[in-house]
Amino acid sequence: MSETEPLQFRDPEQAEQLADRLETLMADIDEPVSLMHVCGSHEQAIAKFGLRSLLPDGLSVRMGPGCPVCVTNMPEVDEAVAIAEQGATVATYGDMFRVPGTKKSLADARADGASVEVVYSASEAVELAAANPEAEVVFFATGFETTAAPTAAILDADPPSNFSVLSAHKYVPPAMEVVAEMPDVDIDGFLAAGHAATITGYGLFEPFVETYELPIVVGGFEPIDVLLAIERLLEYVRDGKAGLENAYPRCVSKAGNEQALETMWDVFEKTSGEWRGIAEIPGANLVLRDAYAEYDARRRFDVEPLDGGPDPLTEQCICGDIMAGKADPDECDLFGEECTPSNPVGACMVSSEGTCKIWDEYGGHPNL
């Protein structure tokens, strides 16, 4: 785009050199390699810049459970819908607005008359509560460490009494362990998310690398960042080594944002929870500690998750396999037909972080 200052991280010439380097590494390795990234923004960067067309044959880069909207479980959406239908104002991020629950999405609930507001931050939800003291404002809080930390900061700052949080926050590292342990998933290395690592620090992955003997490289989101991280991962694969590396040092440190972490763990504790389409994952859901019970929407509202089973179409949806790195979106029978961004069946087709939505928008590896 002509008027934008060309960024060093967007230099096609450097990208070509890196692509040549990937060819050489793959020739040395001489067998297929499968890498997994765990962040929708990585998938965005790869698809938006057409990077897959630069990757050598035999190298596959797949997206794992890296979209917080996609892994939010249907009963969690149902809880938010039920709270909205009880008369509270539910505030949530735009991405969550159209994610289908068992019977309906928050967008459907709003079309039926419920009060649902799209906000851009946890603090905006608090402002909404402060401006409407007569309303109960419930922040349907989703996202990984990058959004859990701001939610925690808000709760730590004494929000108004008509404000509460329905936490669907998730914690990524245990999900990576679950995927690494899946018998039919064959991943040779992980490209870890730079956003989340900004908060948690890359040191967090040390035990993972030791246990699973797989390389992890933390990467940024510009095209050169992504290609560089892939190059580093392939070097580990070629050398048959595990290891941990930070290829995003301009944002990520080993310890992370210690103050944000302290607040986050002050407010939240880890619990076991179902990630949509993937599995029950121990320690991967974040719920409010007892000290913050007064702000816990689950305790404030009496909500029973719906039963009766989901829309039969969703049983054909393979979002779970896609997020476990077992399938690509275009392997799903529903993709682009019954399931489109305006009429999504699975959550992966809703969020701008979801693989199916990204592939619908940009094509994943279009044959061009």
Partner: protein, 351 residues
Amino acid sequence: MTRDTTESNQEFVTLAHGAGGGAMRSLLDELVVPQFAGNGNAESDTLVGLPELDDGAVHPAGDGALVITTDSHVVSPRFFPGGDIGRLAVAGTVNDLAVMGATSPTALTCSLVLEEGVPTADVKRVIESMAETARSAGVPISTGDTKVMGNGEVDGILINTAGVAYVDREQPVTDAGLDPGDAIIVSGSMGDHGIALLSAREGFDFTGELESDVAPVNDLVNVALDAGRITAMKDPTRGGLANALNEMAGKADVGIDLMDESIPVSGPIASAGEVLGIDPLSVANEGKVVMGVNPEDAEDVLAAIHTVPGGEEAAIVGQVTDDHAGRVVVDTGFGRRYLSEPEGEPLPRIC
């Protein structure tokens, strides 16, 4: 098809139906076009009618043709950086006429629907802005209607404008006429209105000037038509360049190849788009035009547009191809990917 939203299997209109793209098209195809198309006596003579879903209709009239179009405008906030709902209402209709090749509009109508409680000072300001914009486009606003609704029955100010214009019968341009080999020209930077409005609406304070581009483009289109053969034209409003080009490619059953680095996007708009996670190519412009131009005429048309205020940044951004019919492909400088039709309102990303 919409998904059932209640157990009684009733279907309801949702915001997605108003956001352009597939949902809106299916609403029109199922509910509107079959009822309206073909009624009246003169349908067989209509040069461009409702089923074409173009920016306006074209009917034979004397030695020429009459172009007619209508648009309703609601926008929040009603005053935004670079413009207001009044300027939008006039420019939108003038531009819908212009991209049909009708660059000298005869008259506009103005239908106002006002909500009880709207400050009269706001109404005055909006009307003054409409008058000024109409003057700059050289068109009178010559008839109208005003209704007042109760509090909560309409959102502030709603403006409907319709426009008519004569055009030489040889001149009407549709959005369906692209031919392989045509150059694709955009008249200026992309995404200004959508990104500026979203930023203003949500109170984001981005460094740098973010202003809507809302303006009439009839003068600009006029010089372009004089300079060479325009095969297809559209104003890239809702859904932006992505929506306009996908529609043009689909209607003509051709492919379009774009060069990302050729597409003008201002620095502040690109930066704000990155922060919001919204592609400037997928949001509205209100003072721009995108056209397919016979390849031999492309440089002449470009040079002509450059001489018109607002056209200084015009650029050839790609070309029409026989490959990948109905789809738009972008060369990013790294690789190639699709530019798909956006669906639903753009919503900022979660992280």
